[in-house]
Amino acid sequence: MDSRLVRGANVHEVGLMQEALRIALEHADAARAARVHSLTLRIGPLSGVENDALRFAFEVVTPGSAAEGAELILEEVPVQCWCVGCARLFQPADYVFRCPDCQQISGDVRQGREFDLLAVEIS
């Protein structure tokens, strides 16, 4: 199914979920599995994908595939930035990546852009 043809779903998450499902099914096939029971994705706040939109997209792209009825597990990871002045990693409180110690704003993001397929449960 072409994500561009999903009416009313003008969100990039449909295409991304399709791609995640394609990768998952490829691994499931290689492992000679008949069914996919769950997909685990790791999502960072800077990935540009919304959890709700992903869940919606999952319901749109899975029917008719080996992952029909499967569970979508979303594992969120926080943003981590490097503070040059303090020479340490910190977790910013919001989207202004200000070091809690020295108050300098960091542009060096070390974690938070993830959009990874971590696990596929099969049988």
Binding site: N10, A33, G48, Y95, E121
Partner: protein, 228 residues
């Protein structure tokens, strides 16, 4: 919702570490290699609809006509209105009509490049689909990203769409000739851009009056010069 337990074969978990965007990322790397080989600087231009991407590019193509050989790939959900406007400059323009897709992807750029003679170009602008959310995740193989916001929008646009603004190499405030009429606080948006995109170069300009364009052109000429 889970499937009922399968009695025939036990469940197994495949532990993976697949980056879902790898396919796009790999195509973007191929695009980047192609652009480097042909000596073309590529600028991905992003903003909300109506922030003045087309107006800035129209003016830039015309003003730099004699010193930079430029082309534009322009993405829109529908119509080729922007391509028609840009064509008046005489520069090669390729329109991508995305249908309902809210952003451009690297493979679309690769296909659009087949319609351009890259050897005759110094600079390629990619005018992305007007959208401050979806294009953030898609590398197109560009040399740098320019994110626009107009004085007719709110000063807090960068705070509301941090993911995209954080990817900016240059953040441009457009339509500054209208700032007073709109009661727009330029200092406030500069502060917000600095907080969200601390490494971005911040510019203020007006494609209509020409205010601030010298700095924009100097930056472009600098990039093209280094590349050739």
């Amino acid at each position: 919702m889970t499937n009922s337990p399968d009695t025939a074969s036990p469940h197994r978990v495949l532990h993976l570490h697949e980056r879902v965007l790898d396919r796009n990322r790999e195509q973007a790397s191929r695009n980047r290699g192609l652009f480097r080989d042909r000596g073309v600087v590529v600028i991905n231009v992003l903003s909300a609809p109506g922030s003045g991407k087309t107006a800035l590019l129209e003016r830039t193509l015309t003003d730099l006509k004699n010193d930079v050989r430029a082309a534009v790939i322009v993405g829109d959900l529908a119509t080729d209105n922007d391509a028609q406007r840009l064509c008046r400059s005489g520069a090669p323009i390729v329109q991508i009509t995305t249908g309902t897709l809210c952003h451009l992807e690297a493979d679309m750029i690769a296909r659009a490049c087949n319609e351009l003679d890259l050897d005759t170009l110094d600079l390629l602008f990619i005018e992305n689909v007007g959208n401050l959310v979806c294009p953030a995740s898609f590398d197109l193989g560009e040399s740098l990203r320019v994110v626009l916001t107009a004085v007719t929008e709110g000063e807090d646009k960068p705070l509301k769409y941090p993911t995209l603004f954080k990817t900016a190499d240059i953040a441009v405030l457009t339509k500054v000739e209208l700032a007073d009429a709109c009661g727009f606080d330029c200092g406030m948006v500069r502060k917000n851009l600095g907080a969200i995109a601390p490494t971005a170069d911040i510019m203020e300009l007006s494609a209509r009056t020409g205010l601030g364009l010298t700095r924009w052109y100097d930056r472009i000429r600098g990039l093209v010069h280094v590349n050739t």
